[in-house]
Amino acid sequence: MSADIINDGDSKPASAEATVSLPATGIATVERKEPPPEKDADTRRRTWIVISFWLIAVFIGLPIWWNTTTIYRANLPLTQMTDWADGKACEPVFPLRIALDVGSLPEQEAQNLLRLTQHALDDLNDFSGHHLRLQLAQAPAETITPVRDDSNVALTIRLAPGDAAHTASSSLHPHLPILDVQYPPNSLPTANSPSSGLATYIATQLGSTFAEEQNIISYLLETSSITSEHKPKGISQEVVDTVSKRMTRSLKYSQTYHLTFSLFTNGPVPSSWDIEAAIDEYLKPVLDMLKPIHDFTIDTQVQLYAAPGVQSQVLGKEDLSSFINAAEWPLSPSIGGAPTVNFIVYIGNQTIGVPSETSPGETSQSWMIPQWGSVYLLAPPAEATHVSSETLKQPILTFTSHLLTLLARIRSADLLLRASSSLGSLARLTLALPSISIPSNVADGVVKTIHHLELACASLGGAKSLEHARIAEAEAERAFFEKSMVGQLYFPDEHKVAVYLPLLGPIGVPLVMGLLNEIKTWKNKRSQKLKAA
């Protein structure tokens, strides 16, 4: 709009003049008439217009551009983060305290036995991450409650003198963390003996009791990205396979799980069940035990005329995976954010033909679906319309054992490693993408994660540690999956050209051309002035 409209000069008087002058001079030069020179006022006005556009662009446009596209990068403790990811910040040591309840043994002998057994234990165990430490029990073992108390004792060994003719024998208490050891009185070590049969025996027993736990920790450290001298050497492939199979079955860690109990029947009856009473009686104790680690919400449903995915009378092994009729059964994948564990009681006439051999825990009536839940086939009850609490006892107990399998047990180590590796990924991401913005809440999350990781690491093995590890993991996940950052992950710098050019091209060209023209005019004028002077 700033361009002026000027007469092109195709005006008749001028050309008429030209034709008139032709015969007079005889030279055939019809000159194109130049437009009349612009008035000074017009030129000045155009300058003002160009200046007004440029003032807006420079004094409002540039600050807007600067403010809105500056990438805010909060400072992240990068070295600390990589240290955690590489396992340099924390030695994953799980000291387990074993109390030795020697009963009536005199102090001197007890100390001696303790020393020798610890020695034997240390010899037996070459993995420093998992450490058993013996101590003498302060109180009689009976008073130790199964719930972990302040002393943090993982296991109590109760020594009792037995028959002299027999060798030592041991048995685990069915409910309490107590290992009862019967020993022949003559096997007690003497004051100066370098080794003792009893001590070695206890050490071996302890070793086998904690072998599984040790394997899992070894596996976790092995598979994690940690490169540390604490990494256990040489766990056998067999162990890796067993543990990894178990790990893939279990659900991803979450603070809350939804347990859904569903009763599906293939006909109109039974239409009611005593699920509440059954859960209270058979499942509640286990849930209470797990309370420090997880919260559970429970809901139940009954669905009549539910056709399973497989209709055959006897279910083969391959039928089990398609038994769940995902299309028709109302098993919502998740309620809220937390993962759902499904437990299904199906009442029908179907049975499982091939009891699974690989997992002996499963009965011929039930099977577990990894990371999902489990199914129990129940024959139609005698009382046709109602399923009593007693009938549900076996299913619920089966579900309980399945639930424990589904929830992996070694949590603090797992969470710790996961949080550390999230930190490592975040640190690598930050270094790899210099143009990604890092909001301040991400930095807060990282600081919190590191703080809780430190606390968790300091108290590994205890309940506190689990809590800290839990917070650390949640914070690390939140920081890593920050919404505004995820969007920028795949935004290379070349895209910016595509964003700016279509807009700034059409606007910028007239702006720049206008400015150049103005500068040219100004220079011309100046040189003319100089010439005149």
């Binding site: 709009m1 002026d4 092109d8 006005r45 217009i49 809105t68 807009l503």
Partner: protein, 387 residues
Amino acid sequence: MPKDKMSFQATAGTAGLFVVAAALLQEGLFLYNHNVSPYDGGVYHQAPLLLPLFSLLPDPSTYPIFTYILYTLVDLLSANALYKIAESGEGEKRWSGYVVAALFLFNPFTIATCIGRPTSVFTTCVILHAVAKALSGNIFTSMLSLSFAAYLSMYPLLLLPPMVILAYDRTYNPKAPKSLAQLAGMCTLAVGVSLSLLFLSSYALTGSWEFLSSTYGIQLTLTDLTPNAGLWWYFFTEMFDSFRSFFLGVFWLHLSSYTPALTIRLRQQPLAVITLLLGIFAIFKPYPSIADTSLFLSLVPCFRHVFPLLRYSFVTASVVLYGTFLGPAFYHLWIYAGSGNANFFYAITLVWSLGLSLLVSDLAFAVLRDEWEVERPEMRGKEIRQI
């Protein structure tokens, strides 16, 4: 609000959707009358001072006639202002004020707007009155009207510079001692004071400053991406989140950058500047509607003398009609019938905007040519070329 689409739908009898404009006001009014903040519902984005005005009216669902009368009155007041504007013009080649007012009142866009009962008719009314008062030399009434317009819709604030010049040209003869800068300062002060009074009374009315972000914040940040006849919504649905605020700045800057340049270029014809700016706003505003178009079109007949200089009047008329008829149809196909998609509707809004921008640029050309012909009367009717 896609008011043009809506109104035409209603006239076509397809859906009552177009009552939304009135319904949104109803929502705010209901909340206000029940002592709840009118902005809590998240759909009312109008200035708070409109609420006591509407709560004075009897319940529109039982006595709709009062609301109709109010909107008719507002339109008549606008026509009255237009009459004064048209009558103040000079020269032999012009339409009388009655013709201009009638062209406004019987413009299908105006009628559709009135049926839709949007609050933008108030903005239209006060802008026209600001112009009329500036023309008659009542500078402070004019500035008060402009403050009301800015209070209602914010963007009329950009009309301040040409309005000041218009008032200056009409009030003082070139030999008057008062300088333009002095008058501009006074006018800015007047607008500032009246705006702050309006804001303070709004604050007293609603009890919080929340209305600022709910009315002007919505326009500035474009949080509501409901499809409308404008160009913004589609652009910002496709925008990368990290560039959103930058392009909001760019779009607003683009809208406001026309004011100084046009004011400088058409210093001699401030009314033309106002008209052209209103046309530009009708195209590039964040939430344009046919109310803005009808306001622009209402001032165009005041330039009857440059009509012979328009070069693309046929093309412009065809494109605008094309957009007018196909726009509602495409909107219906996308939103109701589901047989089109967003691109489908956006394409027709582009055509609509193209038609309006053709009209704006053609009018600007004609006004410039006219200015030039006044300067060089011997060139009247000659072919010209822009260099």
